[in-house]
Symmetry: C2
Subunit: 256 residues, 2 copies
């Protein structure tokens, strides 16, 4: 979504382009999306394919390579943060009985690291690894509230605001006010700002000034759970988030 400097950055920009597209891309399509000369792009793609990061179908369309899967399964299962957070997610889920999400801020996106819900019958993988815009998700806004003014402005400046629903925050000023509000209250609400019919209450994980900016949320469908109920759990979310923050501090500080 952002990168581009350095040889490695260029290569990843190609992966990004492939990942961002809903339809399979052919060489010329990529050429249009990645700002690179033909020869250069061709070689970069070749390298990526050779490394197993990109896969080419028989019709010359590209998809992300399975080697990424191998890396990711590793990243996920060993993630210190996720492992520390997991018991807290489960505990919170037991308290409220609704779906719990764990996500971290990555640039201007939230990447979901874990999810605890009642009906595990849903097909696996759900939205683990999925990315959503930070400005219209509870976890995202909560995480943003940890940033310094400078960091915050830096991120805001690259956001392209888009109205997913009527309640989506529409511009930078709206987001600034929202962040202020979240800092004051200690929790964030997503009032169907990303997906109609879904709202959530969230709290930030991490401390101002430190690199980790993340959050957890309780998510529920509007038709079944009013916002008031959700908001009444603000204390619980905040408490769980604080517990994770503390666990991270304790276990990261003294030693690995």
């Amino acid at each position: 979504m952002h990168s581009g400097t350095g040889t490695l950055g260029k290569a990843i920009a190609v992966l990004d382009a492939v990942a961002a597209s809903q339809v399979p891309l052919r060489f010329t399509d990529l050429l249009a999306r990645v700002d690179q000369p033909r020869g250069t792009l061709h070689r970069q793609i070749s390298n990526l394919v050779e490394e197993g990061l990109l896969q080419v179908n028989s019709d010359h369309s590209y998809e992300l390579g399975i080697r990424l899967l191998r890396f990711a399964s590793n990243a996920w299962s060993r993630s210190k943060f996720r492992n520390i957070a997991e018991p807290h997610l489960i505990e919170l889920h037991k308290k409220v009985g609704e779906t719990i999400h764990l996500g971290v801020l990555q640039g201007i996106e939230v990447i979901y690291l874990d999810k605890v819900e009642s009906s595990q019958a849903v097909r696996m993988h759900s939205q683990i690894g999925n990315a959503s815009p930070c400005y219209c998700t509870g976890v995202g806004k909560a995480a943003l509230s940890l940033l310094s003014p400078a960091q915050l402005e830096e991120r805001i400046s690259v956001i392209e605001f888009r109205n997913y629903t009527p309640t989506t925050i529409a511009d930078a000023d709206g987001l600034r006010r929202e962040i202020e509000d979240i800092r004051a209250k200690g929790y964030a609400l997503d009032r169907e700002e990303h997906e109609a019919g879904i709202h959530c209450v969230a709290a930030a994980i991490g401390s101002p000034g430190e690199p980790l900016a993340a959050g957890i949320s309780i998510t529920a469908p509007v038709y079944r759970l009013p916002l008031e109920t959700l908001e009444s759990w603000a204390g619980e979310v905040h408490q769980a988030a604080a517990a994770i923050t503390e666990d991270m501090r304790v276990r990261a500080g003294p030693r690995g």
Copy 2:
């Protein structure tokens, strides 16, 4: 597990080193595992961290970055192969009632792409994305049987045989005989060769000479299911694998 040529390859070799290790690695640990001068490695790591592919903890230990997760969730959900195979896996599961695995050959490893089992209660992600050696898994051996003699020898030459269990194939000659046997029979068996107490029957997906070499397997614990029962399903596995191969041919050939 292999790469190393080119700037990109070097970078990925670092990721591989981090992924391969069970314990968190610090700078010096990586230095020992990746054959690179200090200055060079330092810059490569910096680049990887900057791109979000690698993450550095406060104690200078490294773990794989969550950005990989984002790529992987994409790679998985959009994978043409996985999507085509999925209904066949479910159908096969309904027939036999045991766990079905889908895996592809990547170098000398099998990477698991999907899994269908009865008790989805198990924590998600299970072993999707996990990698296992090709010479001691049913899927791996089945996939190897599709390779040309030259390709096969190339791969065999880089395998480091290791005895996971008493029945693990111990050397190249043993593997060559096994592959011959699989070609003759049309299916592969894993007689507790990778994990004691677990065996499976598998069949190859793909055609000789084509790039895709994959397989599916029916897996079961020894204590509950004798090998004879498993082997009696060889026809079903083979049939399902053939159906996937055919679907891939049809849907990949005419157009994307």
